[in-house]
């Protein structure tokens, strides 16, 4: 069935089909509609979900942790300050290896106040032990949210699925949805590893582990994330076979003979595609590499994908405030450092707080990357 849906509507639609056991949520722009629409589904009896309206995002994630620890398939949605308020609890969900899935409508962080898109909310949660997926389109958001449930449960890792605030969350796009039954059958019932409420198998959740064991548990958690990538790829393959839509961890656009490419995440990939097409018409050999999975960071795939180009522009929709360059750039550079062949890297920070980013801006960056020259350490695109 082909529908016209905004990103938020699509995420709520996916959640209805997923039919989680528990959703605990607190509303925040631009993700409010996801849980607002979902709460209507709960009211109308279209899902079996226990919907918990809590008093803050910190409580929302706390309730999600309690729910997931009780063996329930658990989801929520948030953005920006909401994710920031969850920050403490994100680490707890990560350490407990609870497969909670959170839909995010990416938004900048205050101050100054801004409700529009950038990736500073998710990227600030980088080290909390959550998988992170970034989506280019509404349909990709819908598909990825469904996939993320299976990926999270198979890896025992929580997952963030991000669509760019307003640009995707509030813009209507073509969305081909799947049959409800097919989605539920594909996901199957959730079989938790353990359940806090199982009286026949009493367990201790969240022990104190001091100098002698904390590091060992963290090492084990790191290994869980290290091993997640093949599981993610397996689920994507499984999804392609079941639903006919194809995704990869890293996706290339017109890269075959490209001399220069840009690498980025999120909705701006669409602008870059248009710019690549325009420049290709002029005979300029440019392309785009889209990164869909930020955690686990696919180091090996990045090395394989980027090693062959002469120059790569890394486009960050967030800034680390006086880190050497943008946060994504840093990770890409670290991945390439010991590669036998590596490109020159240029750093671009763009679109903070929803700053307009057009195909013309993208073309300007691609031209610069093709020339392989940087004027400054980091180019802040479009800043007056």
């Amino acid at each position: 069935m082909i529908l016209a849906k905004t990103g938020n509507e699509a995420m709520a639609y996916a959640m209805r089909q997923i039919n989680p056991d528990v959703v605990a949520a607190y509303p925040i722009t631009p993700s409010t509609e996801i849980v607002q629409i979902f709460s209507n589904y709960v009211h109308d009896g279209l899902v079996d979900t226990e919907f918990v309206a809590v008093e803050s995002e910190h409580s929302a994630m706390a309730a999600c942790i309690g729910s997931a620890a009780s063996g329930c398939r658990t989801m929520t949605a948030t953005a920006s300050q909401g994710l920031a308020l969850m920050h403490e609890m994100l680490f707890i969900a990560g350490g407990l290896r609870l497969p909670i899935v959170v839909a995010i409508a990416s938004r900048s962080l205050s101050s100054p106040l801004n409700i529009h898109a950038d990736h500073s909310d998710s990227l600030a949660s980088r080290d909390s032990g959550w998988m992170q997926f970034f989506c280019e389109t509404v349909e990709e958001g819908y598909d990825t949210l469904i996939q993320a449930v299976k990926m999270a449960e198979r890896t025992s890792l929580p997952a963030i699925v991000a669509i760019d605030g307003f640009i995707l969350s509030h813009c209507m796009e073509r969305l081909e949805v799947f049959d409800d039954r097919k989605v539920r059958d594909w996901l199957g019932p959730y079989k938790p590893n353990w359940n806090l409420l199982d009286l026949d198998r009493p367990i201790l959740v969240g022990p104190a582990t001091l100098q002698d064991y904390y590091f060992e548990f963290k090492r084990s958690q790191i290994e869980g994330m290290n091993r997640a990538l093949p599981v993610i790829q397996e689920v994507m393959k499984d999804f392609r076979e079941a639903f006919g839509r194809s995704y990869d961890v890293i996706e290339e656009y017109r890269c075959e003979d490209a001399k220069a490419v840009v690498l980025l995440m999120g909705s701006a990939c669409g602008d870059v595609r248009a710019a690549v097409d325009a420049l290709r018409k002029q005979g300029k050999k440019v392309g785009m590499v889209k990164l869909r999975v930020f955690r686990p960071l696919p180091h090996g795939l990045l090395r394989a994908a980027l090693g062959r180009f002469e120059c790569v522009g890394v486009m960050d929709r967030a800034d680390s405030v006086n880190s050497f360059v943008g946060p994504l750039y840093n990770e890409v550079a670290a991945s390439l450092y010991d590669a036998p062949r590596k490109p020159t890297l240029l750093s671009y920070v763009f679109g903070l707080g929803g700053k307009e980013f057009t195909p013309d801006d993208a073309a300007g960056i691609l031209e610069q990357v093709l020339a392989g020259k940087k004027d400054e350490q980091v180019t802040y695109v479009g800043v007056r």
Binding site: S156, W194, L204, V205, P207, Y213, E216, F217, E223
Partner: protein, 96 residues
């Protein structure tokens, strides 16, 4: 002494199934305030048993038997939730 385990042998998510360690750790030593339970006033409504975060209310055959001082941390929730008319638990300063 038992050999310390490698990270490879630890349970996913630090879930502890062997609860011996929990029993070995006598958290009652942390207590600054001690609940005093009055058997003559207690009506065994078991509200304290429901609320106690440490499972330190001893119950046998549906009757309150008092407080397990090995594990009671002295948080005072039991005294707080005990019905005001009953008032079967008082908190007093822990004396060493």
């Amino acid at each position: 002494m038992e050999a310390k385990r490698s990270w490879k042998d630890l349970p996913c998510g630090a879930i502890i199934e062997d609860l011996k360690a929990v029993l070995d750790n006598k958290t009652g030593a942390w207590r600054a305030m001690r609940p005093i339970w009055h058997a003559d006033k207690c009506i065994s409504c078991l509200t304290c048993w429901i609320y106690c975060p440490e499972g330190a209310i001893i119950v046998k055959d549906g009757k309150n038997q008092g407080i397990d001082y090995d594990y009671c941390k002295g948080c005072g929730i039991c005294a707080e939730v005990c019905p005001k008319k009953v008032h079967a638990i008082d908190m007093v300063k822990e004396e060493k």
